[in-house]
Amino acid sequence: MSDFDLIIIGAGAAGSHAALEAAKAGAKILMLDEQAEAGGQVWRAKSPSIISAPKTPETIAGDKLRSDLKSNNILHIANARVWQIEKNNDDLWNIGYLNNGQLHNATCKAIIAATGAQERVIPVVGAQLPGVIGLAAATALFKQHLTIPGKQTIVAGCGPLLIFTAYEILRLGGKITAIVSLNSKTDWAKASINMMARPDLLLRGAGWLAKIAAARTPIYWQSTITEIIGDTHIDSVNISRVDANWSSVSQGRKTNIKADSLCMGHGLNPAIEATKLADATHIYTPELGGWHVKTDDFGRTDKVGLFAAGDNAGIYGAGAAPYRGKLAAIAVLQFLKLANAENTDRLVARMKSAAKFGLATTKLTVLRAGMIKNTQQTAIICRCETVSRQQLEIEISSGALSPNAIKSGTRCGMGPCGGRYCSDVVALINQTISGKTRQQIGLATHRPPLRPLPISAIAQNFDYDDLPIPAPAPL
């Protein structure tokens, strides 16, 4: 007997819609999410301390979703951090999670991992200075707290988050010193053809650009941040033009711009720690954000009882996520023999149509080969353990070619983030030396806990005499 039919990890657009769909057939569902409220990043809820805020399409959709979840028979535990996923002998999954400072354990027949995406930042010298945050991190500030990152902000990187972040800062009364876009105007023109799939969103984007233009914000197209300068805090940045491969072509000429804050992001990576820990097969697809769990259209992985929905199965974007959640729920219901998967062709078609916009925007963020050249030898790659590019290159050049070997020798990825933040960049550096493909380089072994686990939660209310201490080792 399992505690639940289905445990959903992540209550964003994909996870929440999977829950709503599965609830229709009466499945017993537990949905675990790290945030205080459902909605994920795109439909992030406002902090309760904010009494009123302007409505956006995202807040309206998010509020409806939260209300729908409450009116259905879904156990949603907020502020829950999944730390462990194991399959036990009865072919049930065991999920360990932390909630309110306590460890909990729940078993289920099926899992839907809907863990979304995480931000990718390709660092340069100074990227670890206070005042520098990611583009996606900045959007979390706006959405949850109506807060802006500073008084004079530079936004830099690639893809649509750049434009959205700049627009939101202006809307919330901030000042943008410069927008530094790796993408050229031509990149955007090409992408907008595919974005026609969602004329409403394209129109909103045009509105954002109009606001940015009205504020006379300088935009540096086809340019990148080459250095972040400051002593204890960001003070200014150097920027440079890039070639078609995104490699800096400044040749010593520097454009220096003052700022007290920088939002910098280079696209999103699928968040794969949970599905890696559960041993599913993962593949590398640059156009889908890099490494992602391999699934069919219904989110079926190659592990029995493990399903995935949303950007962690390849970045299709927020528009497709609800459909992907529903499709995964349909596959789970079929797996649980609670419903047949019938008449799903239309839903698959709608998912694919909705994905067109997301795929077009993701394409703008696919890293080009020259980008890693902009990262200096002294740039810090692993922030947790302060490992520079140079240290990594020495290790790789000595023959440590796998992610595990590089990690062991340099400590890169051994800190609290577990390599989430740096592993993509380490692999890019590895490629410049080994010439291997990303698929050949592979990934480091994923280990629990998925998030740092307080010992106070593990070691409470136990009696020493009850510890199941095994027989002593042979003498």
């Binding site: 462990q84 194991e86 065991n94 360990g96 460890l103 354990n105 290790e395 000595s398 023959g399 440590a400 070619l401 796998s402 595990n404 070997a405 062991s408 020798g409 400590r411 051994m414 800190g415 609290p416 577990g418 072994t445 280990r447 629990p448 806990p449 740092p452 686990l453 307080p454 010992i455 106070s456 593990i458 070691a459 136990f462 020493y464 510890l467 199941p468 201490i469 095994p470 027989a471 002593p472 080792a473 042979p474 003498l475």
Partner: protein, 366 residues
Amino acid sequence: MTKNYDIAIIGGGIMGCATALHLAEAGMSVILLEKDDIGQGASGVNAGTLSLQIKRVKLMPYALKGHHEWQKMGDKVGFVKTGGYTLAFNQREAKLLEERMTLKREAGANIEFVSPQILFENEPNISKKVMAVSYCADDGYANSSLTGQYYRNLLNHSSVDYLEQNQIVKIDHSDKGFSVHTESQQYKAKRLLLACGGWMKQAAALLDVDLPIQARVNTVSVTERSPTLISNVIGHATGLLTMKQKANGSILIGGGWQGTGSPNEGRGKVHAQTLIPNIQLAQYALPALSALRIIRSWTGFEANVPDFYPLAGALGNIANAYILGCVRGGFTIGPYISKLMGDYILGNELELPLFNPNRQFTETGK
């Protein structure tokens, strides 16, 4: 014509690498094949404890020699001699501690019994519930993560040919020697040494030798960095806890609690049901751990035969085939027993005897 090596060594852990280096120094041509990365099996993921208090009585002479080897390797492997305390929290454990440590002291380890008061003075953060304590000034640790880097650099500067990410799939042998096959290549050698740790059983099976080898799945965890809480290696009378604070402030918690999985299925898995009591035991000994978080737990395979003594010598009836592994305390003893193994292959006189792999195995060591 392909090169005919003097010896092919299967496995690039401590034992494979150290034996390879010893033989190459003596003039042998050596090829070493590793299925993953150098020093990334048990050699690179164990807790790194170099404690005489957790070594087997009969293996103590080897452990003492092993300690010297690690001391010589020094900073490059993060060697630190800290001293070590072993704790007992009740009468039963105190009795166990006295029995065991007395025998280990008689076997040559510099172990003494000290009063809990001495422990509390030197380790003020350790639980005051400690009832009995033993101490060994020679105890310490090395950083097992650096094993791969250390041996890869030595191999790079030696005459050994080594290949990582090269799993063997077949071994042919005749009067002339061995032919070791990977998926894409074959390598010829006059001699063969199996030194593949947890994967020894599968490798021996390629020679149609069936050995009663099992693999334990030992769990290790590490905390985030912390101000200094302990300065010695801390153990438990049963041997089921090892704890040390590294130079960077993180605390490493081991003790051989069992995860799940087997070497056939890739890496072993951490098991919540054993991880939790492992951490509870650690926190019982060091209550201040409650302020920290575990940032990672992992497992490594430790091979053993039923009597828990090493396999080290000539293998079965196959001429010029050798085996080295299943050494309980293999991290400590590895660099030394590998030299013995090298001497044995070279026909040199042995400083200490090896362990006949063709013996009858009986359960021992309760």
